[in-house]
């Protein structure tokens, strides 16, 4: 029971924590004040509360698949915002630093959407254990431990990315965002398959014997790079399509940086 709530909450918190720490570290790289993250967290938590209050209504939308459609839509928007963010970062490395307000607004939206989506899952989980006080205390203790581990990992990643050798260039951060974004896109497609909005087929491959999704490594890779043991062709297409676009932008930041360095030395 305690271990279950640790794992459930850790998984949700970790997904948002990774995204937040990469974006906060990138703010440092871009010379943008990190204060936006407070706004984003506030907005995200308010969104999660609102979302959970309306959960019964939302669930009934579209003949009972409202949650899937709304979640998929939110994840699709997060991907598009990540794309806009990456392009703005590229633009910043290419020319003079402009659009810092726009970058901050995009980061606030990305984090708020991610926190709202993961937060609602935690709130529903806690709500499911309100039948008795001992139950709730157990769940809450597990949730606090899970959240603490998730946040610690996020903080650790932040310091790693802020390390001068890595933090000088936005490339590493953008590469990590590419994997997170591709995972979100593949999850969104899966949700639409579950809702029967996207046709489903037999999985393209099955790597369960090699690495099970329920194993610790499998769950960690799911959070980090969107690992699926049995993906369908549409998921694979969206995953790699989304990944390649963001990786290409990350690669271009290297090209632009070396070119502007040449201009400075020349």
């Amino acid at each position: 029971m305690l271990l279950t709530s640790v794992i459930v909450v850790l998984r949700e918190v970790l997904e948002s924590a990774l995204l937040i720490s990469v974006l906060v570290a990138l703010s440092g790289t871009l010379g943008i004040s990190r204060r936006w993250v407070m706004w984003a967290l506030g907005l995200g938590l308010a969104g999660a509360v609102g979302f959970s209050l309306g959960i019964n209504t939302i669930s009934d939308w579209f003949d009972g698949v409202g949650m899937e459609v709304v979640s998929a839509f939110m994840q699709g928007i997060i991907y598009l915002l990540l794309l806009a963010f990456a392009l703005l970062v590229l633009w910043n490395t290419h020319s003079t630093r402009t659009g810092s307000l726009l970058i901050r607004m995009i980061m606030v939206l990305i984090v708020a959407l991610a926190v709202a989506r993961e937060g609602v899952e935690v709130l529903i989980y806690m709500y499911a254990h309100t039948e008795s006080l001992p139950h709730f205390i157990h769940a809450l203790t597990g949730a606090v431990i899970g959240a603490a581990i998730g946040i610690s990992v996020g903080v650790l990643l932040y310091y790693l990315l802020s390390y001068p050798a890595i933090g000088k260039s936005p490339t590493t951060g953008l590469v990590l965002l590419a994997f997170i974004g591709a995972g979100l896109l593949s999850q969104a497609v899966l949700l639409l398959i579950q809702a029967d909005w996207v046709p489903s087929h037999l999985p393209l491959w099955d790597t369960t014997d090699w690495l099970s999704e329920s194993s610790v490594t499998g769950q960690l890779l799911y959070v980090l790079v969107g690992y699926e043991a049995t993906p369908t062709a549409i998921q694979v297409a969206f995953y790699f399509g989304g990944l390649i676009v963001l990786l290409a932008i990350a690669a271009l930041t290297v090209v632009f940086r070396s070119r502007s360095a040449e201009e400075v030395s020349g």
């Binding site: 989980y125 579950q194 809702a195 489903s200 037999l202 369960t208």
Partner: protein, 128 residues
């Protein structure tokens, strides 16, 4: 030239009105006949959650077919239907119903569990 008149919803009692009504009725019937196979093509299976247990704990579904799983949560507390093998995850609030589409699946066994009460809520889908 009468036949070129447009059909309106007004009460046209003449030959033209009768023709319009016939066309409209035929259209409605065609829609009903046309949609019937669409509604019927996904077999429906019912799964109940009661006292944090899945009932039935085993559901046999046809292999290589997409099916509609209707989950009725009879408990007051919410539960999350989760399965790594089926790639599905869905919250069903207390005293509510939810729809989960699964498959097409290759023949085999696909375990699922209730993430909020995994020690008791266990089950499996058998595709054959």
């Amino acid at each position: 030239m009468m036949s070129n008149r447009r059909c309106t919803t007004g009460n046209d009692m003449g030959w033209h009105g009768l023709k319009c009504r016939l066309v409209r009725t035929a259209f409605v019937i065609a829609c009903m006949v046309g949609s019937a196979p669409v509604l019927a093509d996904k077999p429906v299976f019912i799964l109940e959650i009661s006292n944090h247990l899945f009932m039935p704990a085993e559901i046999v579904i046809p292999a290589n077919t997409k099916v509609k799983l209707m989950v009725h949560n009879l408990d007051a507390t919410s539960e999350e239907f989760e399965s790594y093998e089926l790639n599905r995850e869905k919250v069903i609030m207390g005293k509510r119903k939810a729809v989960i589409f699964i498959g097409p699946l290759a023949p085999g066994e696909y375990p699922f569990f209730g993430e909020f009460h995994p020690e008791t809520a266990q089950g499996k889908i058998i595709a054959e």
